[in-house]
Symmetry: C2
Subunit: 318 residues, 2 copies
């Protein structure tokens, strides 16, 4: 039976690590390798690192590899196969990663923005399997988004679509790294969230300070999550507020895209049911009536190695 399976290589090209895996067509990782990105050393070194990772991965391999999928930050031209100015990989102007890796491996290479790859991963292997259309949101340092519409990734005109993190929920809100104001990322992106909580904590009763042994530099979203789960009312308020923020953003997105399903993954999604309930409740209350009953906010299924699985899904999705 095993030899009926198809295998792909999934490569998750991050700012710190390159994670590579051999993945089955049902999304199981057979072998995994992690190498340093060495992002500061520029594209040539990064490409050498990718090749090194592939070599390690294929060392002693007897499985027939179908093709290679790469998930990568930044704007990707899937047509040209280029990666353009990825934010965490300095020195890349426009690199034709597809050509380079196809030449190095002799395999077909697919490349996609990492947020889109995550959406395709959930669609092929995860919580998105049973839906024709959904928006995938990854909550982390940034807030990433990928849109699946009628079983296809929605890329927009030039491949930069789905930047959910930069939906404004308050046009005069906090300044965002992107240059705008009040983007949803400035409310729930890890750093912004932690910074805001630090400020709001002063004068409030909360076990958060105890959890970080009075050292607020140690505060992370996880601490807030722990505190909320322990019944801390301040932390629970924070979670509810996050639901208000995300609910407003999701309603705007639904009204424009006519998509009601949202799959949420990434670190902050670990806040669990109270957060998901709050998001769904707020989104449903705000969206136009015909969409209301279609709003569903659900957990992403791919957790560990979602990046590798999403990248490999690019192969099977084609």
């Amino acid at each position: 039976m095993t030899n009926k399976l198809k295998y792909a290589i999934g490569i998750d090209l991050g700012g710190t690590y390159i994670k590579l895996g051999i993945v089955t067509d049902s999304g199981k990782i057979v072998k995994k390798v992690v190498v340093d990105t060495m992002a500061q050393k520029g594209p040539d070194v990064i490409i050498a690192q990718i090749k090194k990772g592939i070599k390690e991965l294929l060392d002693g391999n007897k499985l027939k590899i179908h093709a290679i999928g790469v998930g990568c930050p930044g704007v990707i031209s899937t047509k040209r196969g280029t990666v353009e100015n990825p934010p965490n990989l300095p020195g890349w102007d426009r690199v034709n990663l597809v050509k380079i890796l196809e030449k190095a491996t002799g395999k077909k290479v697919y490349i996609e923005n990492d947020a889109n790859a995550a959406a395709i991963g959930e669609y092929m292997f995860g919580a998105g399997k049973k839906y024709n259309s959904f928006v995938m949101i990854t909550l982390g340092t940034g807030v990433g988004g990928g849109i699946i519409l009628k079983r296809k990734i929605y890329r927009g005109e030039f491949g930069a679509a789905g930047e959910i993190g930069h939906i404004t929920i308050d046009y005069k809100g906090p300044k965002c790294n992107c240059g705008s104001y009040g983007c949803i990322e400035t409310y729930i992106g890890n750093h912004y969230l932690v910074d805001r909580i630090k400020k709001e904590l002063s004068g409030r009763k909360s076990i958060i300070k105890k959890l970080v042994h009075n050292d607020l530099t140690k505060l992370t979203p996880k601490t807030i999550c722990e505190a909320a789960k322990a019944g801390d009312s301040f932390a629970q308020e924070v979670v509810k507020e996050m639901g208000v923020y995300l609910g407003a953003a999701l309603a705007s997105i639904s009204n424009v895209l006519d998509i009601g399903i949202f799959i949420i993954g990434g670190g902050v999604s670990g806040f669990g049911k109270p957060l998901f309930d709050a998001i769904e409740e707020n989104a449903r209350a705000r969206v136009l009536t015909p969409l209301r009953k279609r709003i569903k906010v659900i957990h992403a299924k791919l957790k560990n190695d979602a990046g590798i699985k999403g990248a490999s899904a690019l192969v099977f999705y084609k």
Copy 2:
């Protein structure tokens, strides 16, 4: 040469009037008829009015009519040909207007949401001719939207996409008719705009009061426009503010859809260059960097009878 032209009937089904026209495939209206909608009398009477309008239109007609296009408020199922709960046409639950009109006329009938029809109209005959993708926004009592992506109308999953008016720009902003808060419609929809200006006027120096002979019930967006054009600094501030509001909404839309072109029509768009410049400037300042140079905010070209032309465009677009 004339007999090489194709002709369509365009029907603009509004809450007060039904406007019908015979239109050439270059968007010229050859003949036009207007009948009362009699919306309060329910679907049967409205349908009888449509048929009456078509009869008048075809009276003495010698042109070969290709097919019929209908633009209609509400959620349209283009597959089923039904109109579902249009907000200004009480008593319609779900009416299969396509079937009814095809039976009555023997012609093929196309139906589309009026905002989408407006977008298709601009795409076929107007300012959208030279673009592959754009978002059409109609500023009026409501704020309507239609999305053209890669030369096709973007309908979303079930045909309700493009509700630009209900993008939130401030999650704790003014209450919207739709039930949400801070939708862009609550800032620039005609009634909301006029109501806000009435309040803000008190204690401000402005020629607006003189223009309405001190009777603020006579205040319309047109008055504000006139005052701004006459150099009234309060009215000019209002126009700039409208640019801030719309700019924020457009940037959110661009970031999600990856579309940079916006075509704006409808009454309020009569504010002209100062408004368009303000919208473009704000949208460009707020959108993600790779999209910045692609942001363009331009005037709709179809003005009078845009509804008829848009509806007829449904025929030629197919």
